[in-house]
């Protein structure tokens, strides 16, 4: 239903520093090449070529020990690690990959060894993803590089597959349903830091699957945000942008007038013409925009800015024009317009229309739904059209959050609801909880009042069930401690109330409206 998963290709160059030197100096292939790194404990091998590895030299080995492994007649070449040159070389290689995907970027790492490409909608030019991956592999090989290629639905999954499943000349293609296959991989496949992996290992957690089953709240408390971030990036629940190596050209148009215009039709004609100019160069490249920044310059007034966010990249003039019109119709012009500038941001490839990408629904329906969300967000604002997302927090008002529907986000569905039943919580939650006044007390339960009052509404206790204690841990900054009750009034209304343990005050928090 429009929550479409992108296709990400990861191209990993194992031992990239070695490959970089060998590609520029092919004669080094006949020598034992050691790339070394100097630390506070001395000089160690960072990486080595195949000949050196045949002699038993491994990364992390002291250079002095590595030298003893060489046999007479071996030509030894020792080069210090030059991370800046390695990164620059990888960046220079990125344009060669542009025919295979949109705006190739480097992985986010101190010493990157991977190029990342979004190939959504590009594969059909090659006759499929496998063919695309094979063409890319041949192009890399022609440049004397050895790459491992994997395609998956998230950067995290593609990275893991490229490092742990792909082999030379054997690309790996994974669909969204294949992601569980990767869960048996070790934690290092998640791009976690060594410190985090070490701490998890001490707890007996060694695979991704083991980590995914752990309580997220506990992980957050003990290990910080990194494991959750990497898990979500791996599953695709959290989008991860690929930062392009080459700057994307700016798509911007503007026009300034000598005299301001006030007539709405004239203003519309001006921005419509500019919008057409803006989108025209995107069409032949099959590119679209996900965000449009509009500035209307006014006479003697501050510039009026309008932002339009779209769920997927598009260059559809009619649709974008309609969205802009929806926003403008709510804002009357209080001064003459002296100029308009439009900029298309977040440029990306158009998504190839493929029914199988939509899970369990027709393409037309998904497309219409996506357009609807764009329209609603444009008119009401992004903060009014929301996707709910559950949060692992026992406090009811903090157990969910909203994200704008126009954000490229797949809602995370927490499993924390599993231990609850259908009537454990009401469908309506008051924020903030309504303070209740008390009248009388129940005979058999002295702590529970007989009648509650809220702004003239009288709630006579019929029956009550509870309490269910909900409280935060002592280590959390704000302490919450409440006893919740299900209350059936004498009229049969079902409401959810709680008593604040710190002061004994009662609150009406929800109801089965």
């Amino acid at each position: 239903m429009g929550f479409r998963k992108p296709r990400i290709l990861c191209l990993w160059f194992p031992d990239w520093p070695v490959q970089r030197l060998t590609a520029s100096h092919p004669e080094l292939a006949e020598s034992a090449l050691l790339i070394t790194e100097t630390g506070h404990r001395g000089e160690f091998v960072h990486s080595a070529n195949s000949l050196a590895r045949q002699r038993g030299i491994r990364p992390g080995m002291p250079v002095s020990e590595a030298r003893t492994r060489l046999v007479p007649g071996d030509r030894e070449v020792v080069e210090p690690l030059r991370a800046d040159l390695d990164t620059a070389a990888l960046r220079e290689l990125a344009p060669a990959c542009e025919p295979f995907g949109f705006c190739p970027g480097l992985e986010e790492a101190d010493r990157p060894e991977c190029l990342l490409l979004e190939i959504t909608g590009v594969d059909h030019f090659f006759g499929g993803e496998r063919s695309l991956a094979e063409c890319l592999d041949r192009a890399i090989l022609e440049r004397q590089y050895d790459g491992r290629i994997a395609v998956a639905t998230s950067v995290g999954a593609a990275w893991a597959a490229a490092h742990f499943l792909a082999r030379a000349r054997r690309p790996v293609l994974l669909s969204g349903a294949d992601t569980p296959r990767l869960e048996s991989l070790p934690l290092s496949a998640l791009r976690l830091g060594e410190k985090t992996i070490s701490r998890l290992s001490r707890l007996g957690v060694r695979t991704i699957r083991q980590l995914l089953t752990l309580d997220r709240a506990a992980l957050l408390r003990r290990l910080g945000r990194e494991p959750l971030l990497r898990m979500d990036q791996f599953t695709g629940n959290r989008p991860e942008r690929i930062v392009p190596c080459q700057p994307v050209p700016r798509y911007q148009v503007e026009r300034h007038l000598e005299t301001g215009i006030t007539h709405p039709e004239a203003i519309e004609s001006l921005w419509s013409h500019l919008l057409e100019q803006l989108l025209k160069p995107l069409r032949p490249q099959r590119l679209g925009t996900r965000r449009l920044e509009c500035r209307f310059h006014l006479e003697d007034r501050p510039c009026r800015e309008i932002h339009i966010r779209l769920r997927e990249a598009t260059h559809n003039l009619r649709h974008i024009g309609e969205l802009l019109g929806l926003q403008l119709e709510r804002t009357p012009w209080d001064a003459p317009v002296t100029g308009v500038s439009l900029e298309a941001c977040e440029i990306g490839p158009l998504v190839f229309v493929s029914p199988e990408m939509f899970e369990g629904t027709g393409h037309q329906q998904a497309r219409q739904f996506s357009l609807l969300l764009n329209r609603l967000s444009s008119r009401l604002g992004e903060e009014a059209v929301l996707l709910p997302e559950l949060v692992p927090n026992p406090i009811p008002e903090r157990s969910f959050r909203y994200r704008p529907a126009c954000e490229e986000v797949v809602p995370i569905t927490e499993e924390s609801v599993r231990r609850f039943h259908g009537l454990d919580r009401p469908p309506v939650l008051f924020s903030p909880p309504r303070p209740l006044e008390i009248i009388g007390a129940v005979c058999d339960t002295p702590a529970v009042p007989q009648v509650f009052l809220w702004q003239g509404t009288r709630l006579e206790v019929g029956r009550m069930w509870g309490p269910e204690r909900i409280e935060t841990g002592w280590w959390q900054t704000e302490s919450v401690s409440r006893d919740y009750y299900h209350l059936e009034t004498s009229l049969g209304q079902w409401i959810w109330i709680f008593r604040r343990l710190s002061d004994g005050h009662w609150f009406w928090h929800g109801e089965w409206r």
Binding site: M1, G2, F3, T361, G362, Q365, R367, Q368, F369, S370, L371, L372, L373, R375, L376, R379, L380, A384, V385, L386, L387, P388, L390, P396, S399, F400, Y402, A405, V410, P411, T413, E414, V417, F420, H421, G422, L423, R425, P427, V428, L429, F430, T457, G462, R463, W465, G466, P467, H486, E488, T489, L491, G492, Q493, W494, I495, G510, E511, W512, R513
Partner: protein, 248 residues
């Protein structure tokens, strides 16, 4: 024509018109429904199905749920029904004008949050616009909305929008609006019932535009219902079996 014949003819016309009005009020003639309408979807509760002219919620129609006060149960029953009725693969749009829906419970009740959008409009006018736009969208299976003030014209537009997309609109309104004209297939008033069970009980009754309880083709014009404590399913009181205590 004799005076007697004229009088008799007028009487027949009045009787025919009365019959037509009654059929229209129960949602039958206007939309050409039969009891075995193929596009009707079950609410998951046979007793509740019986209250609808098509023995279930007809795709491309509106249903009005009337609240009779705080915690009346109209929202609860309508949301649980929406879960059953929303066509598979299509999205659900909840227009929460009061900013009070608890999404956590929607997940608990089995809603697929990835196909659910909550809209919080700033005004009644916006809410009406969102409702019509969403109902008109083929990607949306069901629109649930708090809409208090509706003119007959706006109502008719909503009904046409629902028909165009074969979606369903559930409108949650206060019982005050019962005297206003309706274009809904069914207008159901929900009261809480204090039955001392360990689950909320409600009476869902059909209401006509005059504010009186309507009549349905067969059986009573109302049904007493409760919610299954574990799975959150709706049952007629006669169907409900041995509800467990709420807090064990």
């Amino acid at each position: 024509m004799s005076i007697h014949e004229t009088f008799f003819s007028r009487k027949q016309t009045i009787a025919a018109l009365r019959q037509q009005i009654q059929t229209t009020q129960s949602g039958g003639l206007l939309r050409g429904l039969t009891s075995s309408s193929p596009s009707a979807v079950s609410t998951g509760c046979t007793d509740l199905d019986a209250l609808f002219p098509a023995q279930g919620v007809r795709l491309g129609s509106l249903v009005e749920w009337l609240e009779t006060g705080p915690a009346s149960g109209a929202g609860t029953v309508s949301l649980l029904t929406a879960r059953e009725v929303c066509p598979s693969g299509r999205a659900l749009v909840l227009i929460d004008s009061h900013d009070e829906l608890f999404p956590w419970v929607l997940k608990l009740w089995g809603f697929d949050l990835s196909r659910l959008v909550i809209v919080r409009p700033h005004s009644e006018r916006d809410a009406l616009w969102v409702c019509e736009e969403s109902l008109r969208c083929e990607g949306v299976g069901l629109v649930w909305a708090n809409l208090e003030r509706l003119t007959s014209l706006s109502y008719r537009r909503l009904q046409l929008a629902a028909e165009a997309s074969a979606g369903v609109g559930f409108l949650l309104r206060s019982s005050r609006s019962v005297r206003e004209p309706t274009w809904a297939d069914a207008r159901l008033r929900v009261h809480p019932l204090g039955m001392g069970r360990a689950a909320p009980c409600f009476r869902v009754e059909m209401a006509d535009s005059g504010g009186r309880s309507g009549k349905i083709r067969s059986g009573r014009p109302w049904v007493d219902m409760t919610v299954d404590r574990v799975r959150g399913l709706l049952h007629g009181i006669s169907e409900a079996a041995n509800p467990l205590s709420v807090v064990s």
